[in-house]
């Protein structure tokens, strides 16, 4: 019976635990004279919020046990394409936790927050150098927020020139955030086709690049792991019609110190500090999406801006008449800036360059191992011969020949102790698997992952049912996602 109790306990929510009257919090004593009637009865809450009632030991045990039902990067390989699951150095948690950073109020007078402003100033300069674009706003809170900033900057740029444009181009390989952003910023999306080599179809782009186009949003290398061979021509076409070129920085980890978006002709770049610059993902955030822009976009950047006077004193400047304004409160996700700045100072110029080199080396080595092991016969590379820091395999032959889908392969990988790659993205590759090993994994790990894929394919050739019903060793097995969406239960009934 003990086993049954434990099993039930695992999935009971915190609202199903504890008992009335239990507590963890001790409220400070009322140390001022009690006054009555401070709040009109009509404004008062009549029923308390039914929050849980637990002691500290119960809370700790509940959440520690929940944590054990998560897979995480510190425990194992996490080759989730376009997400750059590289090691999160522990130093960063320590320095971000220093009271001078962690307990600094965002409205502290700038003269009493000089360390924070200097850190942000330095981070802006460093990111600008990596991007090859000199002006940086750290304000956006995630990649998608940076995209919104970029498209709103584009709007401001054109409006300032008295132009009204309605269209934004995105390749069919784009992250979903790109088209979603375009709509939020009040534009219509026009899709650009992909050429057989995996880059932008230049003829299609030429046909669609009209004076009504405000911007082309591009990821380079793109979500196929392909660095666009025609990037210079693409920039020329886009600039030729007066549009801006936007760089989705999700894949920046491939090119740090090798090639810079600014030098490729991009006007606006966003960084994902939670990808290339080691901010831990936290199971879905916090992230951070700073942007870097060219001179012609600079007047429209967000406020406030960090400025430095002749004596090296830092301040926040709100005076920017052409600015798009604010995208959020205060100065951005400062805690993520501390971590990413620590990372940049740890690695320096050489280290960042080495990180990208090793990321590309690891990806190509893993691809080569998959070829050596015959995995690529069933899971061929979708485009090209080599790759940048990630690559896309097509599971279509595997599905046809072995009778298992990419989803089955992914679920079977869970039983081997690996997080699967990104699956079914990019959309234009049938049964896609997008694999990004990152630079912080060892050769042994890459070998083990390749072996696991090979073993799953061998097993599928014998008994495809095994993969079709996987996983077997996880806290729960395949979940009814369709049922969850059909009859949504999104809170604990109380």
């Amino acid at each position: 019976m003990t086993g049954v109790t434990v099993a039930m306990d695992e999935t009971r929510t915190v609202f199903e635990k504890g008992a009335p009257g239990r507590r963890a919090f001790t409220c400070p004593q009322l140390d001022v004279p009690q006054a009555d009637g401070l709040l009109p009865e009509a404004f008062r809450r009549t029923e308390p919020a039914r929050l849980p009632e637990l002691t500290e030991p119960e809370i700790v045990r509940h959440y520690v046990n929940l944590s054990k039902r998560n897979f995480d990067l510190d425990s194992g390989f996490y080759p989730l394409g376009s997400c750059t699951m590289k090691h999160n150095p522990r130093l960063h948690e320590r320095v971000a936790g220093l009271a001078g950073h962690a307990r600094l109020h965002p409205l502290q007078a700038p003269e009493r927050a000089q360390g924070a402003l200097e850190l942000m100033w330095n981070l802006e300069r460093a990111l600008g150098e990596v991007a090859g674009l000199p002006h940086v706003s750290l304000q956006p809170s995630a990649g998608s927020h940076g995209e919104l900033a970029g498209v709103l900057l584009t709007r401001a740029y054109h409006e300032d020139r008295g132009e009204e444009r309605h269209l934004v181009l995105t390749p069919d390989t784009a992250h979903g955030t790109n088209p979603a952003t375009v709509t939020m910023a009040g534009y219509q999306v026009v899709k650009v086709a992909t050429s057989p080599d995996g880059g932008v179809d230049v003829e299609d782009l030429r046909a669609k690049a009209t004076e009504d186009v405000a911007c082309l949003m591009l990821t380079n290398p793109n979500t196929l792991g392909v660095f666009d061979p025609n990037i210079e021509e693409i920039a020329e076409i886009v600039h030729g019609v007066g549009a801006t070129l936007y760089y989705d920085g999700a894949n920046l980890n491939a090119v740090m110190g090798q090639s810079r978006p600014g030098d490729m002709g991009f006007d606006i770049v966003h960084f994902n500090l939670h990808k290339s610059f080691t901010q831990p993902h936290g199971g879905g955030g916090p992230g951070s999406g700073p942007i870097a822009v060219s001179d012609r976009i600079q007047p429209y950047l967000t406020v406030p801006r960090i400025v430095r006077d002749g004596e090296g004193r830092f301040d926040l400047d709100y005076q920017a008449p052409k600015s798009i304004g604010r995208l959020r409160g205060f100065q951005g996700n400062y805690g993520t800036f501390v971590r990413s700045y620590a990372y940049i100072r740890s690695l320096g110029a050489e280290g960042l360059q080495d990180a990208s080199e090793t990321a590309v080396l690891n990806a190509n080595y893993l691809l080569a191992r998959l070829r050596q092991l015959g995995v690529a016969d069933h899971l061929p590379l979708a485009f090209g011969e080599h790759c940048m820091h990630e690559f896309v395999l097509s599971g279509a032959p595997m599905k046809r020949e072995l009778g298992i889908k990419t989803l089955d392969l992914a679920k079977r990988l869970l039983d081997h102790g690996f997080h699967p790659p990104t699956v079914y993205f990019p959309l234009l590759v049938d049964e896609a698997l997008l694999v990004e090993p990152t630079e912080t994994e060892t050769k042994e790990t890459l070998d083990a992952f390749a072996e696991a894929l090979a073993a799953i394919l061998r097993e599928a050739a014998e008994d495809p049912e095994k993969a079709r019903n996987a996983p077997y060793t996880t806290p729960v097995r395949r979940l009814d996602e369709a049922g969850a969406a059909k009859r949504p239960v999104i809170r604990q009934p109380l």
Partner: protein, 457 residues
């Protein structure tokens, strides 16, 4: 080999052989056009050993005056509440800190269940049936609520009270300029949203109305009346709420609010000079399929065991692309975890007790300060955790003088509101005792007196 990479000379040889190239640079040369290769090293300082990076970051931290270094009454959107130790312990656990968004639910049940519990806690707090799993932070949550209203009714105008946090109003304007709505402001009277101007601003072209509870001046608004005034024209009623006073204040769901959003920092998140924290976003059932962001839902696995998944994903950017209800992808899961742990730590009674304590101490502080020469109440409305006063001396100079004594008396309202150049906004948390408040009164009184002498001299 640099920090965190592991390729030895031997590894490198084996790896390059397997790939069939002579060097790593060959891989770049083969793929990146020569014209866009960077032909020089990045112009950045050389890398440093861990202990040197620590020392540098510690030195930068030491040049900030944090809530550890002074007695602070700063609030205005973020508050110096105590963060219990168990939150530090849980949020630094690898299993919560280092996973990605839970795309593989079988190995992400911990994070997904946390989201489900968080959604339940926010629904309870707001008395609204639908909550997402978090958005970035407060002001952008307000802007996202404006976008939800645009999707709901397509109308061209958003009415916002001037009692809404200036950062929220500015962010809403930034977003609305993109999605195509005009933002018009309604002013305050006696410290709260002017009810006549509010009523006059309504109309069938109004997409959303936005107020803040308590408002930026600390005053408790008549939320039910503001919502009721907007109902007849069919606008979406949006309230930006401070979550802490919801232990004692009527929740948005009981006041006719359709969408309640707010800054979650005060729920177990540190100040961090403004972030990361989280935004909460709750709504009535009618808006379920227009919600931005992730939502976790309960389901069963093939063996009939209870489990949790990301659900209603057809709203989201990775499925719906240009027709998505928002572009949000990564949000603030770890900060929302801190939020639900904090609410659990406070518990059902603790949230109420905390609210009552702040109500009493805030009243005490307001009395103590307005008893000083040269300090008077900016408004007489009920306040619960923050209040505004007028100073008969230049506010910035008074603040600087107080800070020299180790006391940060609050926020200079004139930095955002030109109509309140003489205003000071003072926030109270459970960390500020009666003795602290008495010290504030003494230091502020002396500072105001000194500055008045300076002005007349």
């Amino acid at each position: 080999m640099s920090r965190y990479t592991s390729v030895t000379e031997q590894d490198l040889r084996e790896m390059l052989d397997a790939i069939g190239v002579g060097s790593v640079q060959e891989l770049f040369d083969a793929q990146i056009p020569a014209g866009v290769r960077l032909q020089r090293p990045l112009d950045l300082p050389a890398g440093l050993p861990e202990q040197d990076v620590y020392a540098h970051l510690r030195d930068l931290a030491a040049r900030n005056v944090s809530a550890e270094d002074e007695l602070t009454f700063l609030g205005a959107g973020m508050y110096d509440h105590y963060v219990p130790a168990l939150i530090d312990m849980l949020t630094t656990r690898s299993e919560f800190l280092t996973p990605y968004t839970p795309y593989q639910p079988e190995i992400s049940q911990g994070g997904l269940q946390v989201m489900f519990e968080y959604q339940t806690a926010i629904s309870e707090l707001t008395a609204l049936p639908v909550s997402n799993a978090s958005v970035y932070e407060g002001p952008s949550a307000v802007a996202s609520a404006g976008y939800l209203a645009k999707l709901a009714n397509g109308r061209p105008r958003i009415v916002v009270s001037r009692g809404v946090h200036p950062h929220s109003r500015e962010t809403l304007r930034t977003y609305a300029h993109g999605f195509g709505a005009e933002v018009v402001e309604v002013g305050l009277r006696d410290g709260v949203t002017d009810p006549d101007a509010w009523a006059a601003a309504m109309g069938d072209d109004v997409s959303a109305v936005v107020f803040q509870q308590p408002n930026f001046l600390g005053a408790v608004e008549d939320a039910a009346a503001l919502a009721a005034a907007a109902k007849p024209c069919g606008a979406v009623v949006v309230g930006q709420y401070d979550p802490i006073p919801l232990g004692i204040l009527a929740p948005p769901g009981a006041c006719g609010v359709d969408v309640a959003v707010g800054e979650g920092q005060s729920l177990g998140n540190r100040l961090d000079f403004g972030g990361p924290s989280f935004g909460f976003f709750a709504a009535t059932e009618a808006h379920l399929r227009r919600m931005p962001g992730r939502i976790a839902g309960e389901t069963k696995d093939v063996d009939g065991r209870r489990g949790f998944v990301l659900t209603l994903q057809t709203r989201e950017q990775h499925i719906r692309r240009e027709k998505a209800t928002s572009n949000i992808c990564t949000s603030q899961a770890l900060n929302a975890l801190a939020g639900v742990v904090y609410l659990t730590w406070l518990g059902k009674q603790g949230l109420v007790e905390l609210g009552e304590l702040l109500l009493q101490r805030t009243h005490y502080a307001r009395q103590a300060l307005t008893a000083l020469d040269g300090v008077e109440a900016l408004h007489e409305q009920p306040v619960v955790r923050e209040f505004a006063v007028r100073l008969a001396a230049p506010v910035d100079r008074v603040i600087a003088r107080c800070q020299e004594q180790g006391v940060n008396p609050g926020y200079a309202l004139g930095r955002d509101l030109e109509e309140h150049e003489d205003g000071l906004l003072v926030a109270i948390t459970e960390q500020r005792t009666r003795a602290d408040i008495d010290r504030l009164a003494s230091v502020l009184g002396a500072a105001v007196a000194a500055e008045r002498v300076a002005v007349t001299a």
